[in-house]
């Protein structure tokens, strides 16, 4: 089997991975960097879909300390405070760098994306807007200028290869050819993004485009022996029901276009500013108590917007179509041809569209995980956002921690000897992958949909012990009764159905981590809402922690890192 040698292996080339690769490749000492990406870099993955909101401190009277306080308040104090300090302190420099590399900053309209910052705390204008498109173009151009970085597009890491607790490389599938190979690396950076795909409705799968965020990275880390924290913390946003155009995040229609949150009886049931988790809970309650709309959701009512038709259209163009192009705007106009005036639109949505994942691989300030030589950054890591992410903080997180991961992985590689993966490790993985092309009878999509509907029905916005137990037993049943019979479509070349089949066991692992962590946390905090434990409890100011021990999933809790800001405990 082919083996490729590198110093630093970067898994995933969204914002965090690309930034890590840039840092590792430019560090002195001639560090060779190999980057894997599931699709074309900058033209697939979640960063490129980002709408563009970014928070960093620039106002002369603002300070990183104020942003720090906003982030941990929104995060319900479950944030690793040392990580938040690095985020708030380093974000301005990282953003300036990105702009220097060519990313375009777009000015937001007057209503801005600051609505989530609580009015009770210090708040300054700091919501910038760099569309994911432009963000990734800048990173990609920068990366392409570095001779010692190689990017392999259409590749997916399927397993981390270990020597004890030291990462020595990865088994990789080349999607184009369908051949697998081994990467031997001194250090690895996991930057594989989130897991929106394990919910049926997700902003991670726009227009039903699956494959971006199946949660592979969490499972790779878990099976290698890494610790994962706060896996119950899933941030939900609105899932648009009607009309079928304007697909995307319907919340923007409220924050940017002045739409009001109205229930089926015509009553406005919440007013901004509200954190994302509160909007989800309030909308859930309206629907559950029978005040839903015709299609079973609630409205964002643009007929009550204080803005005029023309102003709404301007904001829509800016939020939905700015860099995304005239082509998208043309499509929206085409699709809404029967009712062209946005002032007549009442957008129906349900809560429960998976948007972002706060939990993940436990890291320290150097982005080190609990495994030697393994670093993690971006959505796959946990701890930065606590129990709820403030809007605009993901695009800053990925460059701040991407840079840190690349820097420290390169440093580790320079000071470490290479341990060669054994040939049998790669061959065993090839055998495991090829088995999916054999004789089963169940299509991977069928099982993926079953996982997603279990998660949506029982591990969604509102959770109870009974529901979580149903989810866990359903997942167990899928694992024993269906997983062994998954069969990928035939043919090795460019077989995305095969990739999906490879993802299924990992999706089951990650779904189980979420359900078990949600079961253990017998309180409500941030995005985690337990209907049977509605209060936030001081004693629960702890991370849930998942580890694989003796081949089994184990769960316990660990303390939150507090640096300066002692949380007030329960409410």
């Amino acid at each position: 089997m082919k083996t490729i040698h590198t110093d630093v292996l970067v898994i995933g080339a969204g914002g965090a991975g690309a930034r890590a690769a840039i840092e590792a490749a430019k560090s002195d000492g001639n560090v060779e960097v190999l980057v894997l990406n599931q699709g074309p870099i900058g033209k697939s993955g979640l960063t490129s879909m980002a709408n563009g909101g970014m928070q960093w401190v620039s106002h002369p009277e603002d300070s990183p300390q104020y942003l720090f306080e906003d982030i941990i308040r929104v995060g319900a104090y479950l944030n690793e405070q040392n990580l938040v300090e690095r985020l708030t302190e380093e974000a301005p420099a990282r953003a300036a760098e990105l702009i220097e590399w060519g990313a375009k900053v777009i000015a937001l309209g007057a209503s801005g994306a600051t609505a989530e910052v609580s009015p009770s705390g210090p708040s300054f204008p700091r919501a910038y807007y760099i569309p994911g498109v432009s963000y990734m173009t800048a990173l990609r151009n920068r990366l392409s200028a570095l001779a010692n970085a190689t990017v392999l597009e259409d590749t997916i890491a399927t397993r981390l290869l270990m020597e004890g607790r030291r990462v020595v490389g990865a088994a990789v599938l080349d999607i184009r050819s369908g051949e697998s190979f081994v990467v031997s690396a001194k250090a690895a950076v996991l930057a594989s993004g989130g897991l929106g795909e394990i919910y049926p409705h997700s902003t991670n799968a726009p227009f039903g485009m699956h494959g971006h965020a199946a949660g592979m990275g969490y499972a790779l880390a878990y099976h290698a022996g890494a610790e994962l924290i706060d896996m119950e913390m899933v941030q939900f946003t609105g899932n648009q029901l009607w009309p079928p155009w304007l697909l995307g995040n319907p919340m923007l229609l409220s924050s940017m276009c002045g739409g009001k949150y109205v229930n089926g009886t015509g009553k406005e049931f919440l007013r901004l500013p509200q954190p994302r988790d509160a909007i989800q809970k309030l909308a859930y309650k309206e629907i559950k108590e029978g005040r839903g709309t015709e299609h079973g959701g609630v409205y964002i009512d643009l007929t009550r917007s204080p803005l005029s038709s023309v102003e709404i259209e301007e904001q829509l163009k800016e939020s939905l179509a700015a860099e995304v192009a005239k082509e998208r705007w043309r499509l929206i106009k085409e699709m809404s041809a029967g009712t062209p005036d946005p002032k007549t639109w009442r957008i129906e949505f349900t809560p429960g569209g998976a948007h972002f994942f706060m939990g993940g691989v436990r890291i320290n300030e150097q982005c080190e995980t609990s495994l030697e030589g393994l670093f993690a950054a971006g959505e796959v890591s946990g701890g930065v956002h606590g129990a709820n992410r403030m809007g605009g903080c993901a695009l800053t997180e990925i460059i701040v921690f991407g840079k840190r991961a690349g820097e420290h992985a390169a440093e580790f590689a320079k000071n470490s000897d290479r341990i060669e993966p054994t040939a049998s490790q790669g061959e065993a993985e090839e055998e495991r992958l090829s088995a999916f092309l054999g004789g089963g009878r169940l299509s991977p999509r069928t099982i993926a949909e079953k996982i997603a509907s279990l998660m949506s029905a029982h591990v969604g916005v509102a959770r109870t012990e009974g529901d979580l137990a149903i989810a866990l037993s359903g997942l167990k049943q899928l694992r024993s009764g269906e997983l062994p019979y998954v069969r990928a479509p035939q043919g090795r070349r460019f077989n995305l159905g095969w990739v999906e089949a490879i993802q299924i066991p990992h999706m089951l692992d990650v779904a189980e981590m979420i359900a078990r962590s949600a079961m253990l946390r017998s309180e409500s905090r941030g995005a985690h809402y337990r209907e049977d434990y509605p209060d936030t409890e001081g004693e629960w100011l702890r991370h849930t922690r998942i580890r694989k021990r003796d081949g089994a999933m184990t769960i316990d809790t660990v303390p939150v890192t507090v640096t300066t800001h002692q949380p007030g405990g329960g409410k």
């Binding site: 699709g39 697939s44 082509e327 460019f494």
Partner: protein, 140 residues
């Protein structure tokens, strides 16, 4: 919501296994707002799981990794709205080597920036569309 189905005629070719390309016909149920890329996904999920095309794309009209030759013209399939009863010929984007079926190798390495790629693909689109007739395909 429902109407007459959509009729897709789709180019199929696995250079590693097939002697020659062929075309397959698929009938996809129409719904309001159906886009061609979603129609292809429907085919793969429900009618023929072996159909290969790129779908790790942005889904929102900019990245161009979903470009294909649609009724003889280069188009982003994520922005192609389908009408009930429409007959559509779907072929791989011309000018690039075929990996399998509708998936092509854009030949993009790390030395090619996204901007350059868009220009490159845009040039191919325009060249093809000009040869095929007035450009109605590429909106931007």
């Amino acid at each position: 919501m429902s109407g007459e189905p959509v009729y897709l005629k789709v180019f199929r070719y696995d250079p590693g296994a097939d002697n020659a390309p062929r075309y397959e016909d698929y009938e996809v149920p129409w719904r309001q707002g159906l886009l061609l890329l979603q129609g292809l996904r429907y085919v793969r999920d429900n009618l023929d799981e072996t159909l290969a095309f790129r779908d790790y794309c942005c889904g929102c009209s900019w990245c161009m990794s979903c470009v294909m030759t649609v009724n003889g013209k280069g188009r982003r399939t994520c922005s192609k709205l389908i009408m009930p009863g429409e007959h559509i010929l779907v072929e791989p984007m011309r000018g690039f080597p075929i990996i399998r079926d509708l998936a092509v190798d854009f030949g993009v390495s790390i030395t090619t920036s996204v901007g350059t790629f868009r220009k490159m693909a845009g040039t191919v689109l325009r060249r093809w569309n000009d040869a095929a007739g007035p450009d109605q395909g590429l909106g931007s």
